[in-house]
Each structure stands twice: as structure tokens, then as C-alpha cells.
Subunit: 200 residues, 2 copies
């Protein structure tokens, strides 16, 4: 079959999605063109609508509908709690916000320091963070980055930069993930859970 | 975050793709709207192009570009070998064709008998198959269906219907999958591999 170019193009485009390999993309493309309820058109229109109507908040850098800028979270007066949570990507905001465990503001860094990927300090939204501290009356910056080596380096860098400001700096707790058994925890996680043990 | 409707709509549309759950759909949607090289628009256009330009061959039922009907495989004179391979879906044709191990024609059944899904004989392209036998000088029908219970029932039904026609009817061999060890084969596969053993 040499002449199924539109299908091949679709497979190539689907392969660009995160976590999708060639076989998954082929299966999706076939399902889409065989769909009887117009899946291709529905998905295409949802993509174009999202592309047109969704953008980044000029304040926190998170995702927002373009007509609402600053975003819902940044313009919510009840969130002016003096707390700001620094995350890597807009998706992290959605994730943390779903927990309903944090009521402060957010700030998207736009990645972490990564020499391998050529990401340096200049590529992160650090100055944007610093310029928010005073006007928003921030008293504590919670750094919510991951625990890989590069994220750790980014945390150190941020802690260093923030040390000269009049704010507390904290980061997320290390420990056992919820619902997990000791049996499945790796040595570093266990060690950190012991170090961070809490009195009952 | 209540007002990210376009993103929610996109997640809902992506979730309709085969093998995509809510979390994968969310990850994809975020990647798409955050993409700096216009992934959303590229994917949308690939979807619309495929939807417009790809259809089903009126002869074999496989996938073809709509302006080429009957499809490349059906109109290829070199494939008039008297052999026809019956498959469940258009994707199966692409899969078998990639092996370069079959040079005859194909016929898409459009599924298998499934009382659970309400798929009966009337929903399968059986009459279309029967009407191709004589004009195309078919001497052997190779049934290339799976080995689950419902596919087995479909194979039996087809064998029964075809028994009154002047054609040989065969089905794909059972046995060990390529590259596999005895250790990983289940009892039924092993039993069938023994039954179908070949003299060396």
C-alpha cells in the first residue's frame, strides 16, 4: 500500500503526541478514519478551538482561556494568602489544584535547569517570580519540583536566589508515596522518609 | 480551575481514541496547547485531510484514498492469484500486507460474530465475499481471523457457508509465536502447536 499518504501523515502527526509510539499512532489513525460518529472532525475541531482559545497567563504562566488574563487563579482575591507555589509546568498547577490542598498562588518556572537540554537560568521564569514577591505580599515560596537530579539542582539554585529576599522558602516533603508498602520503596526514598519522620 | 472548557473538550475528544485513558488524554491535551511548533493545527489538519481523503474500498472494504476506488490492492492485476484472504478489519490488511507474505486479494469482514456486541451475520460482509468468488476466479479462501471464542465461531460459520461453493477454505496456522519460548506459551497454544506439528 503506497498511496495512503493522508493516513501516513495522520500517523506522523499523532506520533508527535507525548507517550505515543508508531503502533499506537497507527491504531489511532485507523480508528479515526473508520469512525462512524465523526471522531476525526470532532477531534480536529476540539484541537483548533483549544489552540485558539487557550493560552498562558501573563502572571503565573499557567494555562488559561486567552480572554481571561490574568487567569482565574491569579485574579482570585481569596488566594492572596502570601503563599506562592513554584511548579515546573502548567500541568503541575492543574494537578496540585485538584488536591484542594493549596489555597495560595502559583508560578510556572517553565522547566528545570538541564545542561543536556540546553536549559539554563535564562530560560526559566525566575525574574518573573522575583518581581511578584513584593507586590503580592509573598511570605513563603513553596518549591514544588520533582526529585530527580536536575530538579534538585534547580531547587538549590532557587533557594540560593531567594535567600536574599525576605521570604521563607520551603519545598515539598519527601517520603513514602500514599498507599505504598515499605517493600516497594527504593533506598533513597526510605532514607529520606526516615530523615523526615514525624512525631505522633 | 473551572473555566478551561476548550481544554476539557479536547481531553474528552482525545479520550475517544483507542487505548487512551483520562490521564493520557490530559497529558496530550496539555502538550498540544503548550506546543510551540503548532502541533494542534498540524494534527487538526492531518485529521481533516485524512477524514476527507481516506475511505473504504467498495470491493474489499479495506482502506483507500477515496479517489482510488477500487483500491490499489483490488485493482492490481498481479494479485489475481485465485487466493482471497478474509480479515476482520482494514487494519489487518495493512498488517498482513507489510509481511509481503501474501500476494492475493483481501476481503474485510467488518468484525466477527458477537452476540454481546449485537453483531450478527447480517452485519458482516459475507454476501459481498460470496459475490466475489466467481467473478474473481477465487480457488481458495484463507480465513485470517483471531483465535478468541467469537472469532472461532465466525470461522466455523464462514467455513459452513463456503462449503457449498467450489473453493478450498483454509485458516491461518496455530502454533508458537515467533521468537517465543515454550516456557511462555499457554496450554492451548502448546496443544495446538503439537497437533499442527510439521515434519522436518
Amino acid at each position: 500500500m503506497k498511496h495512503l499518504l493522508p493516513l501516513d501523515d495522520l500517523v506522523a502527526a499523532l506520533e508527535k503526541l507525548p507517550g505515543i509510539g508508531k503502533r499506537s499512532a497507527e491504531r489511532m489513525a485507523l480508528a479515526v478514519v473508520q469512525s462512524r460518529d465523526g471522531l476525526a472532525r470532532k477531534l480536529a475541531h476540539a484541537l483548533l478551538a483549544a489552540d485558539e482559545q487557550v493560552g498562558n497567563c501573563s502572571c503565573c504562566g499557567g494555562i488559561t482561556v486567552t480572554k481571561e488574563n490574568p487567569c482565574e487563579l491569579c485574579s482570585d482575591g481569596q488566594r492572596a494568602t502570601g503563599l506562592i507555589c513554584v511548579v515546573e509546568s502548567p500541568g503541575d498547577i492543574l494537578k496540585i489544584d485538584k488536591t484542594h490542598g493549596f489555597k495560595g498562588r502559583y508560578h510556572v518556572l517553565g522547566g528545570h535547569l538541564s545542561p543536556a537540554l540546553g536549559k539554563s537560568v535564562a530560560d526559566l521564569r525566575v525574574n518573573e517570580l522575583l518581581s511578584r514577591l513584593q507586590p503580592e505580599g509573598i511570605q513563603e515560596v513553596i518549591i514544588a519540583l520533582g526529585t530527580d537530579v536536575e530538579s534538585e539542582a534547580t531547587v538549590s539554585y532557587l533557594a540560593d536566589v531567594l535567600s536574599s529576599r525576605k521570604v521563607k522558602v520551603s519545598r515539598l516533603a519527601f517520603g513514602l508515596p500514599s498507599g505504598s508498602a515499605i517493600e516497594y520503596a527504593d533506598a533513597t526514598t526510605l532514607q529520606r522518609a526516615i530523615e523526615g519522620r514525624q512525631l505522633l
